[in-house]
Subunit: 253 residues, 2 copies
DNA sequence: AATAAACGTTGACGCAACGTCAGCCGCAAG
DNA sequence: CTTGCGGCTGACGTTGCGTCAACGTTTATT
C-alpha cells in the first residue's frame, strides 16, 4: 500500500503542508519520489508518522523528535509505554490548569454578590491562585507539598486585620533596612532589628520558624533576581544583599 | 513607586523584550513615557502584569489575555469559559491518544494488526463532537458545577503514577470489552475479565467495594444515556449494555 | 482529441511570541 | 572626557506550520 501526500495527510489528520515541511527538514522523507516528482509514502512511513505525532502531541520540538525516532536505539514499544506515561502526566497538568481557570470563573461569578468578608476571602484566593499558577511547581519542588499547603492555609486563615498588620510590618521592615544600610553595618543593632522584623513578617505566613529556613530564604533573596529586584525597588540598591547579610548574623548570633 | 523596564522585568521575571513587545501590541502600556523616551511603569501596571502572567501561565494566548484584562467582567467570564472549553477538548483528545497507545502496545505484544486508520485514532478531530456529552459544558449543566469540580479535584489529587495506572486500566477495559463482545457472551471468560477490570478501575476512585454498589453502577450505565454514550463512543454500540450484563454475572457468580 | 478538474510540485510571504543582534542617545562616575 | 550602564528603535532569526501564487501531471468528461 502506498500513499500520495493527500492520502497520507487525510489519513493522519495533518495538512499536506506539514508533510512537505517534514520532508524538508528531514523528519519524514517519502519512501520514493516517482517520475513526476510526486512524494510516495509506504506503511513504514505511516508508522513513523504515528510516532512523530505522538511526540508532537507531547510538545516535543521537531528537532528533538528527529533525533529520537531516527536513533538506532529507537524501540517502538518502549516509546509507546513512555507515551502512555507522558500523556497521563499531561492530562493531569491540563486538569490543573482547568482547576485554576475554573476558580477564576467562579470568582467572577460570585464577586457581584459578596459581602466584604467574602470579598476579602476571594482576594486571598486570587492571590493564591496567581501564586500557584506562576510559581507553584517551582516552590513546591523546593519546599515540599506539605510546607506549601500549610503556608497557603495560614494565608487563607488570615483576617483582614492580620493582613493589614502584615503589610504594615513589611513597610516597617523596608524603613528599618534603609536605616540600617546607612550605618553600613549588617551586624549592627539596626540591622538585627531589621532581621527581627523580617522574622515577624515571615511569621504571618510561615507555619513554623527555623533559623535554617530563615537563612535559606535570605540566601534566595540574592540568588533569585525577582526577589532582588523587589527589595531594591522598594528600598535601594544592594538592599537584598544587605538583608541577607543581616539575617545571617541574626541567625548565627 | 515607579519602575523602568529593567526593574519591572527583573521583578516580574520576564525579559525587557517581552515588556517592549507587550507595549507594542497594546497589552501593557507604560503609565508614562518620560522626557528621554523611557518607559515608566507604576504599581497599577505591576498589578496588570501580574494578571497577564497569570493567564499566560494558563496557556491563554496574548490576544485573548488582552480582551480578558481590558474588558468588563462579563467578557472576561466568556473568554475564560471559552478557554476552559479548549482545555477540555485537549483533554479528550489525549484520552483518545491514550486509547491509541494502549491498543498499539497490545498489538505489538500479541503480534496483531492495526489498520492504518486506527494508528491515527485521536490525532484526527472527527470524534470530538460526540464526546461533548461527557466532557463539554453540557455535563456541567446536568450535574452542577460543584459535582464536576469535585470529580476533577479527585483526579488532581492522584499522583502521576496512580493516574497513569488508572488510565491504563480504563483503556485495557475498553479493549477487553470489545474482545468480549465478539464472543457475544456476557457470561464468558472474556466478559468476566472485563468486569474484573472494571472493578479494578473503580478501586482508583471508590473508597470501598461492594457487589451491590458495583451492580448498581452497572445498571446506571444503561439508565443514564450519558454513560451509555461514553462507552459507545470509546468502544462500540451496545457496549454499556454488554458491560452491565457482564458485571451482573460477575457480581452474582 | 480536447479540455477541465483535481491532483502534484516549488517558492515565497505571514503568523505568534519573543531572542538577539546593531546602532544610537542620555547621564552619572571615575 | 570617556567609560559604562541603561534606555531607545529598528530589523532579522526562530519554530511549525497556513496560505497564497504559479506552474506541471494525471484523470475524467466531453
Amino acid at each position: 500500500m502506498t500513499y500520495t501526500v493527500q492520502k497520507l495527510a487525510a489519513l493522519a489528520g495533518v495538512s499536506k503542508r506539514t508533510l512537505r515541511y517534514y520532508d524538508q527538514i528531514g523528519l519524514l522523507k517519502p519512501a520514493e519520489i516517482n517520475a513526476s516528482g510526486y512524494r510516495i509514502y509506504t506503511e513504514k512511513e505511516v508508522d513513523l508518522l504515528q510516532q512523530i505525532l505522538f511526540y508532537r502531541a507531547l510538545e516535543v520540538d521537531l528537532n528533538t523528535i528527529r533525533s529520537i525516532v531516527h536513533s538506532p536505539a529507537f524501540d517502538r514499544k518502549r516509546a509507546l509505554e513512555e507515551h502512555r506515561k507522558q500523556l497521563a502526566a499531561k492530562q493531569q497538568q491540563i486538569n490543573l490548569l482547568l482547576g485554576n481557570v475554573e476558580k477564576s470563573i467562579q470568582m467572577i461569578e460570585r464577586k457581584g454578590h459578596m459581602s466584604a468578608k467574602e470579598k476579602f476571602a476571594g482576594f486571598k484566593e486570587e492571590k493564591l491562585a496567581e501564586n500557584e499558577a506562576m510559581y507553584g511547581e517551582e516552590v513546591r519542588e523546593a519546599y515540599g507539598e506539605e510546607v506549601v499547603d500549610a503556608a497557603n492555609q495560614k494565608f487563607r486563615d488570615m483576617t483582614a486585620v492580620q493582613y493589614e498588620e502584615m503589610q504594615k510590618t513589611e513597610q516597617q521592615l523596608f524603613l528599618k533596612i534603609k536605616e540600617a544600610m546607612q550605618t553600613g553595618n549588617p551586624a549592627g543593632t539596626e540591622a538585627l532589628q531589621a532581621a527581627e522584623l523580617h522574622r515577624k513578617w515571615l511569621a504571618f505566613t510561615w507555619p513554623s520558624y527555623s533559623k535554617e529556613a530563615h537563612a535559606g530564604l535570605a540566601e534566595m533573596y540574592v540568588q533569585d533576581e525577582r526577589f532582588t529586584a523587589y527589595y531594591e525597588n522598594y528600598i535601594q540598591k544592594g538592599a537584598a544583599q544587605f538583608l541577607r547579610d543581616s539575617i545571617q548574623h541574626y541567625t548565627k548570633g
